[in-house]
């Protein structure tokens, strides 16, 4: 696959002015940074907290012994920050976050979730990268990453399959739900593609219900086990399961072989929730633009909402949405940890990702590109990008 590096002068110029990289001598790093960076005292006559004067307890997630720094030089904020990527604009209070090595026991997961996961591969002129990162909120309170993703190929190698899932934070088994939902969606789609010569003939509505039932079955087992009796969950209604085990799930398929014009077919399957599917168009190299194919949230709503209707709750009939991916376009499927700050693409996050995703990235570079720090971007993050 031949890739010409696009010229992104305008975006790069804008972004350089807005990105702040913390220097080693910046005052916000090291133990106690959050308290040091606190606001000025407030006068309220009520005995309220004076953040400069009161020796407050360490925030959740503070490593044991962190206050006993001894004679070691403070570790720079650029190193200690849980994400550590580019600072976009003024990330306000999020710049003072510190990493947590403390993971509260969550759900029934035997495997400890890694804070970061990434992978990348190339196939037939496409480059595919995926990454998932524990967000700043969960880094703050000691919970694991509750997003999950799958990327891979159909059995016949004709389709790239990408799945992202976002466990609903309030559910005790959120991380398990995201893993189960993405895995079941992956399995079902891969099987359906294997059993059909033409994806247009696949009964996507039936597939959507199959995924939901499998997620529900898994949830019943885990929620039952959570109560100490695995069999107790077998009769639970979906609503009861979803209180503890719930996740969004979205799938995108990209056909490997292009048509005569270089276009590749794309299928989007929004099984549940508020993920965002977007296309970065670089046909005008100096003005790359985002097209939001499906926004996770209504951009025109006067009042926005974080509420979702996750799996395993019943969903509207699943409908496949078909599109095309043209040469020099990048298809991105992201959970709301990236979709919300990306918004309509005209944001700092949009400019940052347009700059970083201008050319295909290796797995670790892709992970780094998703580790930006931006005000309002504290959720877990997952992204899959496909470069055509």
């Amino acid at each position: 696959m031949s890739m010409t590096e696009p010229t992104l002068e305008l975006v790069a110029g804008d972004l350089e002015a807005l990105i702040r990289v913390t220097q080693p001598d910046a005052p916000s790093g090291g133990p106690g940074a959050a308290a040091q960076a606190g606001p000025e005292p407030r006068s309220d006559g009520s005995g309220g907290v004076d953040p400069d004067a009161s020796p407050t307890a360490d925030p959740p997630g503070t490593p044991v012994g962190s206050s006993a720094a001894g004679d070691r030089e403070p570790v720079p904020a650029a190193v200690t920050h849980p994400l550590g990527g580019a600072f976009l604009g003024d990330p306000a209070s999020l710049r003072d976050m510190r990493p947590s090595t403390v993971h509260q026991p969550t759900g029934l997961s035997v495997r400890r979730r890694h804070d970061f996961e990434c992978e990348a591969f190339a196939v037939g002129g496409l480059h595919v990268a995926g990454a998932s990162l524990r967000g700043l909120s969960h880094s703050w309170d000691g919970r694991p990453n509750q997003d999950a993703f799958f990327v891979g190929m159909s059995e016949d190698q004709r389709w790239v399959i990408a799945v992202v899932a976002d466990g609903v934070s309030a559910a005790a088994l959120a991380a398990d739900a995201a893993e189960a939902s993405s895995r079941e969606a992956w399995r079902a789609v891969r099987h359906a593609l294997s059993a059909s010569t033409d994806p247009r003939e696949i009964d996507w509505a039936a597939l959507g219900e199959t995924v939901r039932q499998r997620v529900l079955a898994r949830g019943r087992r885990l929620v039952g086990a959570l109560s100490g009796d695995a069999s107790a969950g077998q009769e639970l209604p979906a609503e009861a399961v979803a209180e503890h085990f719930a996740s969004t799930t979205e799938v995108v398929l990209v056909e490997v072989a292009p048509d005569a014009d270089g276009a590749r077919r794309v299928v989007r399957l929004a099984l549940a929730g508020d993920s965002t599917c977007a296309v970065l168009d670089q046909s005008d190299a100096e003005n790359p633009s985002w097209t939001i194919w499906s926004a996770g949230k209504d951009p025109d709503a006067a009042v926005t909402s974080n509420a979702v209707r996750p799996l395993p709750l019943p969903q509207p009939e699943l409908v496949a949405t078909w599109g095309q991916l043209l040469p020099r376009q990048v298809l991105a499927l992201v959970t709301d940890g990236i979709g919300d700050p990306l918004a309509d693409g005209t944001t700092l996050t949009g400019a940052h990702l347009a700059l970083r995703w201008g050319t295909p990235l290796a797995a670790v570079k892709f992970l780094d590109s998703c580790a930006f720090v931006v005000a309002g971007g504290e959720d877990d993050r997952t992204a899959v990008a496909v470069w055509a």
């Binding site: 407030r42 309220g48 209070s93 003072d96 909120s137 794309v266 097209t291 700092l348």
Partner: protein, 240 residues
């Protein structure tokens, strides 16, 4: 671009927006300062806004996300602290008890302020979550029922885009019926008869934990009212 689904081409124009994508949660704390609040009741009420602001300050994941406005009302209503992020509030003027208890004035001011605050946030490029009102009163309203019902209807009209979820807290001489009548949306009404100062102190953690549960690290989406702090009190009536 040739995606065949409904699309909207959005090229960066005028430079990228720093606020876009940030979701702000406006919180309106409305405190009865009628004459009956004088003394330890007012002392207890005085701690509410600082406690809420401190919770926001202590948690960087919500510090920039919450805007707190303090409104006091008796015969009239006024903004004591305009909507601001916790780190921008430099002082909170002391509350003074006087006059009667006119809900209508508070509801009317809330209608005006919810719109002004939300529109201003949107104009600055933020996304706005549905506002919440924590309304605290220790006595029966002294204004006309018709006036306050009309003002409340205007505030919570389904056609009003920024209609808030209203949580009503009644303590002291407040009656259950008049408190419950003005709950709306996903709000609750809480009636705690008996020692009003003690009840007011008990409401503080309900408000702070509800804000955390609604937009903190493990928020599910939408308003969550956490009344767990009232579990140890006798004679607490919660309606949702």
């Amino acid at each position: 671009m040739s995606i065949t689904a409904p699309t909207q081409v959005l090229s960066p124009t005028g430079g990228p927006s720093e606020a876009a994508g940030q979701k702000i949660f406006p919180v309106f704390l409305v405190i009865d300062t009628s004459w009956s609040m004088k003394g330890d009741r007012l002392d207890a009420a005085q701690t509410m806004a600082p406690a809420l602001l401190d919770v926001c300050l202590e948690d960087p994941t919500i510090r920039d996300k919450v805007r707190v406005e303090l409104i006091a009302f008796n015969a009239t209503a006024s903004v004591v602290v305009p909507a601001a992020r916790a780190s921008d509030v430099r002082s909170i003027p002391p509350l003074h008890a006087a006059g009667g208890t006119a809900y209508a004035g508070a509801f009317t001011l809330l209608r005006q302020r919810t719109e002004e605050v939300c529109q201003e946030l949107r104009a600055d490029g933020f996304k706005v979550l549905r506002p919440v009102v924590f309304f605290i009163s220790d006595g029966e309203p002294t204004d006309s029922e018709q006036d306050r019902d009309q003002a409340f209807t205007d505030l919570t009209d389904p056609g009003y885009a920024f209609r808030p979820n209203v949580c009503m807290f009644g303590v002291g001489e407040a009656e259950q019926e008049s408190i419950a009548a003005y709950r709306s949306g996903r709000g609750v009404s809480v009636h705690i008869p008996g020692d009003a100062a003690r009840a007011l102190a008990a409401i503080v953690p309900v408000i702070t934990s509800s804000v955390l549960a609604s937009v903190g690290p493990n928020a599910q989406g939408g308003l969550v009212i956490d009344t767990g702090a009232l579990d140890d009190l006798d004679d607490v009536y919660v309606y949702d």
